[in-house]
Amino acid sequence: MRKQRLVLIGNGVAGVRTLEEILRHDAQRYDMTVIGDEPCGNYNRIQLSPVLAGEQTLSDIILNPESWYEKNGIRLIKGVAATGIDRVQRVVTLANGEAVGYDKLIVATGSRPFMLPIPGAQLPGVLGFRDIKDTTAMIEAAAQYKHAVVIGGGLLGLEAAHGLKLRGMEVSVVHLGEWLLNRQLDQQAGRMLEHAMRDHGLQLYLGQTASRLLGDQRVTGVELGDGTVLKADLVVMAAGIVPNDALARAAGLKATQGIVVDDTLKTSDPFIYALGECVNHRGTSYGLVAPLFEMGKVLANQLAGCGKQRYTGTTTSTKLKVTGIDLFSAGDFMGGESYDEIVVSDPKGGIYKKLVLKDDVLVGACLYGDTGEGAWYYQLLREGRNVADMRRDLLSGPRELGDVGTAGASRAAALPMDAEVCGCNGVSKGTIVKAITEHGLFTVEEVKKHTRAGASCGSCTGLVEQILMSTVGSSFQAAPKQKPLCDCTTHTHEDVREAIRNRHLTSLPAVMKALQWRTPDGCPTCRPALNYYLISSWPGEAKDDAQARLVNERMHANIQKDSTFSVIPRMWGGVTSPAELRRIADVAEKYEVRMVKVTGGQRLDLLGVKGSDLPAIWKDLDMPSGMGYSKGLRTVKTCVGKQFCRFGTQDSTGMGIELEKALDRMWAPHKVKLAVSGCPRNCAEAGIKDVGIIAVDSGWELYIGGNGGIKTEVAEFLVKVKTATEVMEYSGAFLQLYREQAHYLERTVHFMQRVGLDYIKQRVLEDEAGRKALWARLQQSLALEPDPWRARDGVDANQFAALPA
């Protein structure tokens, strides 16, 4: 069968990125042809500013050299413009007379600079700032001439002015707006930028128009609206961009200020797609890179036959590539009457931060001078998450930065290259920056794959994101809002759970078939997640798949660095007995256990056990599994309580034991730890547990979502109840809600942050019938769960023993 012919018009970032994505999905699907009117492979147009400034060379910014096209079997027609699209015959005609047939066509013709229609605009020496040709012309002019005028004080205009200044020219900027970057900054930040630019030696004419350009052979000057004449040997027009939709328009495609596309990036012709700066999507045209990448992902998904993703628009963020100037803005940063604004302003110190909120949701940010928190604000903005609980700390930035492995430094840009970023895998900032520049990485996921930074505990992800942002500037691509579960699928955790429930799927192959998994049997990320979703959605019905569990949960022991195991029997509420201790001591001696250690969860850990000894040890111990290896109930830590303690107000030990017995054998999205303290002195440290209970004279206080691990999180107060029965019911209902709705590997604190404490209160406190139903569902599903050490049902005995040689 003949392969489908896919033709791309426009050899730029958006189009080629799409081809790369398609190749990743399915390299065999299409015969690809790329038509580009520039004489080279695909380069990173965004980096032309650093080239102009002399900070990078042209060869630095090539993204896809011609060898890339060859290697992937793509025909590259370079230096030739497409002149027409015959939609009936499905043929693209070229300036050299050739005709290229297509089955599917992508139009990615980008945009061109808007050249002001003023007298003299045609003169030599008047340029836009768009491609290599313009950049080279500007560099040449700077070597020959003295005076430059840039029309437009937007991002591109300022970058051009900055570059020309560095190349030794006297540069004036004429800007219609009242302040610089008036589409990216509010007035105050714009004023600060203005001072900085003047200090750099730029002449600024704000609130001014250029009315005509003077000169005969070459431009010699610019006359402003008020009659002022500026000397000019070079004029750069940076007054905006216009989508290049002429070709599409001539072919009869629907176009108004850009080629009109739907959410699948299809044009009015079903065989033709378009993306990038040439399109008009829901009435918006984009001139920044992040939206192009998002469009590229969606279009590749569509063209690779997955047909699932939709493009729904992008909240863009801004960063100016002018050395020494840090600014960042995103979203609706202007604010106004119906908004709340949080502002810090220190014009002398060169710091300005404005956060715009609406109904406790961050909707905009404008930062000048200190943009270290930009990536974090951008993420909050895109998530649209309620920030009521952290309003007070919003300005100072995320607490997780600098908590681990960053030696207290909180700003990626200020970190020295040898600073350790990922403490788990020993990855330095230098290694990350090198990987980003050498491999052209744009996403945190890519960095994780190449460097392993953030691949273990994930606590440095925010810092990695910042390093990425400061390294690649505005080509930085924030994580998509709707992240697929893993690379095997385009579906999110929610999609998968919903499908399992609504379509009554009860096995991994059934899920993978129904949701069109891209891999035959998944990967180490999705298999354990799917297995958990199956057994928690259909307890007793879906079969627990041992091969979808990682080693610890398959062997019911915790693997150590030397591939021996640790064995932790359950000690209810941390209470043991002389007989039990004797048995443990006997086992430790009999099996030559290397270390006996008291764990942080008030029990005993036998370390250095050979895998082949596990079944015999379980039998000799004759105790239930402590599940210290599980994504499930670990421990219920207790203090001694009123039975012995002179301050105790309730029987916390008894309460803890009762809870642990009720929740024993509970699998969950991640590990779950509880604690019960007998008085507000809180010796059991209930404030950093998934469920923490603190006894007071009149009853019990329940706290949820605490975490003493990577990032210490203090638990939130949920409710105060009177009886032990209520403690069980409320705790159980919360945990069942977590089991049913959290993403796999999401701790309670992150689940709570995602859905909001109000939602949890509504389900667990306000809805009494719902609470009882949740608690009942948990009990039903636990009743079906065997103790793996005692029953050893479903535990494969073969896995413990080596085969005879």
Partner: protein, 104 residues
């Protein structure tokens, strides 16, 4: 001269799983992997990253992920999957009439 020796029945290795064998005269155990499609591969049971026992890993497609740090190894070649780097020694292995034969 290496010779194929019968090790076990195919059914003794779980699908998408592995078993270990300790041949005499060898300090390094060998892991026998069986994929979902019943292909069998034999690799030294030692991850090139930090020496984890690959036999305890999760088998997916034609690869295994090390249980210690999720380092992924291609079963057919013993090479680490990109962007990781590393190599595990491979051994010839065959399935004949439902029996697994390993070259030792």
């Amino acid at each position: 001269m290496k010779q194929f020796q019968k090790i076990c029945a195919l059914a003794e290795i779980p699908q998408q799983g592995a078993r270990v064998v300790n041949p005499g005269g060898r300090s390094q155990a060998i892991a026998l992997f069986r994929t979902a499609e019943n292909q069998v591969f034999a690799l030294d049971d030692h991850c090139p990253h930090k020496g984890g026992a690959l036999s305890h890993g999760l088998v997916f497609g034609g690869a295994v992920a090390c249980p210690l740090h999720n380092f992924k190894i291609d079963l057919a070649t013993g090479s680490a999957l990109a962007p990781e780097q590393g190599q595990v020694p491979c051994h010839a292995v065959e399935v004949r009439d439902g029996e697994v034969w390993l070259a030792l």
